[in-house]
């Protein structure tokens, strides 16, 4: 893994001619190329089976393409072995899931601390960072609570805090509001906007047009593994504090 600092001219995500085939059925992605600049909030839209999750998995290093290249933050993700891709995930990306994926037997703080502990970060620094994130995301009062006691919106905030713990270059969100009620969904949308305003590059996978409209600075629509539409979003970044980075 040879990281290089992204610049204005270097896209944070550079996907070229990516193809993904499974054992049976049609290919999930067909010669897909896509670049995402640092600071963008890209929403990937599409119906079920269009290849959204496959694309997310390839960018996260959870899966490998059948062909083509995936480069994120200067790292050729498609070439990484299991250990290197684990290091890549904990150092360069943060992930937020539809169903939060918090560990129920760990407190909110311990959940948030996990990524830092996995990279072997200093204890005091990690705790300070976790406290800062919890405070910033408005869930500091739940620091010692267990996830099972929180509302869906609060759980997703915890998941976002965990994803940001190691100051990732890229935040991947897979249907982040899919399991939330309307009010909680609105809270999370607002949070995503705040993060992007602070300079956090975000890639959202969703079929929620409202979420994409509210949060994305650019929208890509996938149909049958191909990009059917690539359009600028309606939202514009505002800039702000640098908690996310």
């Amino acid at each position: 893994m040879t990281p290089s600092a992204p610049s204005i001219t270097t896209p944070l995500i550079d996907i070229r001619e990516v193809r993904k085939e499974y054992d049976d059925g049609p290919p999930a992605l067909v010669d897909l190329s896509l670049t995402v600049a640092a600071g963008e909030a890209l929403a990937v839209l599409g119906p079920s089976g269009s290849g959204k999750s496959t694309l997310l998995n390839l960018i996260a290093g959870l899966d490998r393409p059948t062909g083509g290249t995936v480069t994120v933050d200067g790292v050729r993700v498609d070439r990484l072995g299991e250990t290197a891709s684990a290091r890549y995930r904990r150092e360069r990306i943060g992930m937020v899931f539809q169903f939060f994926n918090l560990l129920d037997d760990l407190t909110v703080t311990d959940n948030v601390l996990l990524p830092a502990q996995l990279v072997g970060a200093g204890r005091l620094q990690a705790r300070a960072r976790a406290a800062e994130l919890l405070e910033h995301l408005g869930i500091a009062r739940h620091a010692q609570a267990y996830p099972g006691r929180l509302s869906g919106g609060e759980r997703q905030r915890v998941a976002v805090a965990r994803a940001l713990m190691n100051r990732p270059a890229l935040l991947l969100a897979d249907e982040p509001t899919g399991a939330l009620d309307t009010a909680s969904g609105a809270e999370v949308r607002e949070l995503i906007n705040e993060l992007n305003d602070e300079g956090q590059t975000i890639l959202l996978v969703t079929h929620d047009l409202a979420l994409a409209g509210a949060c994305a600075t650019r929208t890509v629509e996938l149909v049958d593994g191909r990009i059917a539409r690539d359009t600028p979003g309606t939202r514009r970044t505002r800039g702000g504090s640098a908690v996310a980075r």
């Binding site: 299991e82 684990a86 037997d105």
Partner: protein, 819 residues
């Protein structure tokens, strides 16, 4: 197929890993239980079982061929109460010289009672062929299988025996080994061969074997014997051996084994039950969400319960069948070892064990599956759906919180907290590993103690050289000097004065014995002799002790060649004695007490100054200075001299020169050979095999539970991997979760094993008629304890490696998708 049937079939077929785990677990548990149960049964009255199987003879009678004709002897088969009889078989007694095959030492053996027998079957005393084949003609001999053929059952096949004391020096080839439960002969040849094995002008004796209608007691056997004796000319029955005598001897030997076989057997059975319980209940609990789905589809709680019990029983039944096959396979070498030890064990597992064990295991499976299945079936549907496969919320949180603050890598911390999420399963796994660690600790202690006891017994044959003064009964060269501890006792080597001390042999000894005084002088005059003393073996009587006691009288300074002491000290002069535990028990005495040696018209008081490690003669042996016997009007003439060589003396050269000097006197010198008791060998071998079985079952038990745990937590694994947990960290986490259970289990299992050792060894020694010196029991020291404590950690870690590797390799995306 009914809906329920389809649910069961799908549950078994689709959940392949879980099904495999169930099959594997049941198979191992049944295997271990059959092996353990088979050994326990084999250790229960093995003589009686073998006696029934072989139609053993209640009485083996010998008749003088000069007093009674074969026809008269055969007619005794019609005596009152005789239900079956075999014989008469002509019997010859002759001493063979072994002409061993390449690789084995040649030598002269003791006199053999050789019976002329056409076939191994018959109405009484059916011989069981252990190895080789039965006689097909003259020139062949089948030997009685020994109680402990540590050289292997086939070692003697092909060996040539010659009989130099007989006309024409007949030669026979060993073609087989057979076992007579009543030990009716030492060897068998075809009847036509007996004439060649009978000295010129001699008449063979005859053996007749009887089964009686009533033979449960000595009194009944005596009546039966009298009836047989009455059927032949008076005085023609020269002797008879009751099966009760052989039975008592075999049972005494068996009793030495039973305590440790029981200890291992119970460990194995409990281990099996624990592991079955963990895995089955875990597998059913893991299906809780599916139960919710089935209930949502309309299945009643009773149907769900039945379906899940059936889902557990189907793979368990397959595992049980495989386990029966494997158990019988594993039992073959174990039962062979038991057979070597007892001399009367069936080579196969009792049929009812093959039925009872799998049936019992299936009942256990049903019981283990029923509780969680009914609990899950009783849940409200929505609740069952929500519970899913993850552990119940709230469990292990404190542990997770504490582990998160430990100064260890996070993967290790998560692993340490893992077992607390399933406390019952972890506790059971812990108990299983603790039992395994206890088994290893016990086996180590058992082997070490027995080896020390063996070393102690070898001290009973002291010095580097043994000289025997006894001539052979057939007038040939003197037999080899005693070399095996326990069977014959002489003293042991310890620092002497550096100068040879003269023996004080008295009298001219027994007929057929070299002059002990002359032998002593020859030894003393031999360059290289550092010290020596003589010993004689005789029967003696002590007031208040029933029956004769083996008395060993020492001439000369024996302080350098003492037995290993259990208590007190070696005798320092006449009037003192060192005794075995059996004597103390028989006399109701303790060290320090005085007993009376009854002599020839006189008696003398002897003070017991020490208790020695003695396994022979049921421990009823007395060791004393020869001058003690003189005080009682008795005389002792050395049968054997034990010789300690001066430093730097070459034993081979010394032996050659001494033997040449002794030859004219009729004595013979030989090297002292350290003995190795067949009992110790058999116990070591069985303990080793059983320990290996326990370790394998424990390790695979850990493996199956870790597989179950890992499968249940696969989604959490996916989350951790998505957060950046590397494969190595994942493996470390999984191994830690099992390893530290093993480490803690080891800390408890080791003291438990030590306690078992402290309890079982004295019982085994008691069965052998002795006590074990404290030094031989103190085998656990800090380094050994530390190593043994690691055994639990190692077994658990080894068991967790495979699922840890699986966890490390699991693809993150797949794990995240898993519900």
């Amino acid at each position: 197929m009914s809906a329920l049937g389809r649910v069961v079939r799908a549950g078994v077929a689709r959940r392949r890993v879980q099904t495999l785990v169930m099959v594997l677990t049941t198979m191992l548990s049944v295997t271990a239980s059959i092996a353990a149960g088979g050994l326990i049964v084999a250790s229960t009255d093995p003589f009686d079982h073998a006696f029934a199987r072989q139609h053993g003879a209640h009485l083996a009678a010998r008749f003088d061929g000069r007093e009674a004709s074969p026809g008269q002897i055969a007619a005794t088969a019609h005596a009152a109460s005789v239900t079956a009889a075999a014989g008469p078989f002509a019997v010859a007694s002759a001493s063979p010289r072994f002409e061993a095959p390449a690789g084995l030492p040649a030598g002269t053996g003791p006199a053999l009672d050789i019976a002329g027998r056409a076939d191994a079957g018959g109405p009484a005393d059916r011989l069981e062929l252990v190895t080789g084949h039965w006689l097909t003609g003259p020139g062949q001999i089948v030997l009685a299988a020994g109680d402990g053929d540590e050289a292997g059952p086939d070692a003697l096949i092909g060996t040539r025996l010659s009989f130099p004391g007989l006309p024409g020096t007949p030669r026979l080839t060993v073609v087989g080994e057979a076992r007579s439960v009543g030990r009716t002969a030492d060897a068998w040849v075809v009847p036509a061969q007996i004439a060649a094995l009978t000295p010129a002008g001699g008449t063979p004796s005859y053996e007749m074997l009887y089964r009686f209608a009533h033979a449960g007691s000595s009194a009944q056997i005596s009546r039966d014997r009298a009836a047989v004796a009455a059927a032949v000319p008076a005085g023609s029955m020269s002797g008879a051996q009751s099966y009760l005598t052989v039975r008592a001897e075999v049972n005494r030997q068996t009793a030495t084994f039973v305590p440790f076989i029981l200890a291992f057997g119970v460990l194995g059975l409990v281990l099996s039950v624990l592991i079955i319980g963990i895995v089955v209940s875990g597998a059913v609990t893991a299906g809780t969400r599916r139960i919710g789905v089935l209930k949502a589809l309309g299945l009643t709680p009773a149907q769900v319960g039945r379906a899940y019990v059936a889902q557990a029983v189907v793979p368990a039944a397959a595992g049980a069948l495989l386990g029966v096959a494997l158990g019988n396979l594993v039992s073959v070498p174990l039962l062979h070892q038991a057979d070597t030890a007892y001399g009367a064990v069936s080579p196969v597992v009792a049929w009812w064990i093959d039925l009872l064990v799998p049936a019992g295991m299936l009942v256990l499976v049903v019981a283990s599956a029923l509780a969680p299945a009914l609990r899950a079936a009783g849940l409200r549907t929505v609740q069952a759906l929500a519970v899913g496969r993850t552990p119940r919320a709230g469990r292990g949180r404190t542990a997770a919180r504490v582990a998160g603050r430990l100064p260890v890598p996070r993967a290790v911390g998560l692993g340490l907290a893992g077992p607390f999420a399933r406390p019952a399963r972890s506790a059971t796994t812990w108990a299983a590993v603790a039992l395994g660690a206890a088994g290893v600790t016990f086996a180590f202690g058992l082997a070490t103690s027995l080896n020390r006891v063996q070393d102690g017994l070898n001290q009973n044959t002291p010095g580097q050289v043994q000289v025997t003064t006894l001539r052979r009964p057939d007038g040939g060269a003197p037999p080899n000097p005693p070399a095996t501890a326990g069977s014959s006792a002489t003293g042991s080597a310890a620092p002497g004065s550096g100068t040879a001390t003269a023996g004080t042999a008295t009298g001219n000894g027994h007929p057929g014995q070299a002059d002990p005084a002359a032998v002593g002088r020859a030894i003393a005059a031999q360059p290289g002799t550092r010290a020596y003393f003589g010993t004689s073996f005789d029967q003696a009587h002590f007031a208040g002790v029933a029956g004769a006691v083996q008395l060993v009288a020492y001439q000369g300074d024996s302080s350098w060649g003492t037995y290993q002491m259990v208590g007190g000290h070696w005798f320092t002069g006449p009037g003192q004695a060192v005794v075995g535990h059996g004597f103390l028990t028989a006399a109701g005495a303790r060290v320090g007490d005085t007993v009376t040696l009854v002599g020839d018209g006189r008696s003398t008081r002897v003070r017991i100054v020490g208790e020695a490690l003695i396994t022979g003669d049921d421990g009823k042996r007395v060791l004393t200075d020869a001058r003690t016997l003189t005080a009682a009007g008795l005389r002792a003439s050395p049968d054997t001299f034990s010789v300690e060589l001066a430093d730097g003396t070459d034993r081979a050269t010394y032996l050659k020169t001494l033997d040449a000097a002794l030859e004219p006197l009729g004595a013979q010198a030989g090297a002292t050979v350290g003995g190795l008791s067949s009992t110790v060998v058999a116990i070591d071998a069985m303990a080793g095999s059983l320990t290996l079985l326990l370790i394998v079952v424990t390790g695979l038990g850990v493996l199956t539970t870790v597989v179950l745990d890992t499968r249940e937590r696969v989604h959490d694994l996916g989350v951790l991997k998505a957060l950046g947990m590397a494969p190595r960290q994942t493996a470390v986490m999984v191994v830690t979760s099992a390893g530290w259970i093993g480490a803690v289990a080891g800390l408890v299992g080791v003291p438990a094993g030590m306690a078992l050792h402290a309890r079982v060894l004295p019982v085994m020694a008691g069965a052998a008629g002795t006590r074990i010196p404290r030094a031989d029991l103190a085998v656990y020291h800090a380094p050994q304890i530390a190593c043994l404590a690691l055994a639990g950690l190692l077994v658990a870690t080894a068991g967790a490696l495979l699922p840890a590797t699986w966890a490390a390799r699991t693809r993150t995306a797949t794990a995240l998708r898993t519900e």
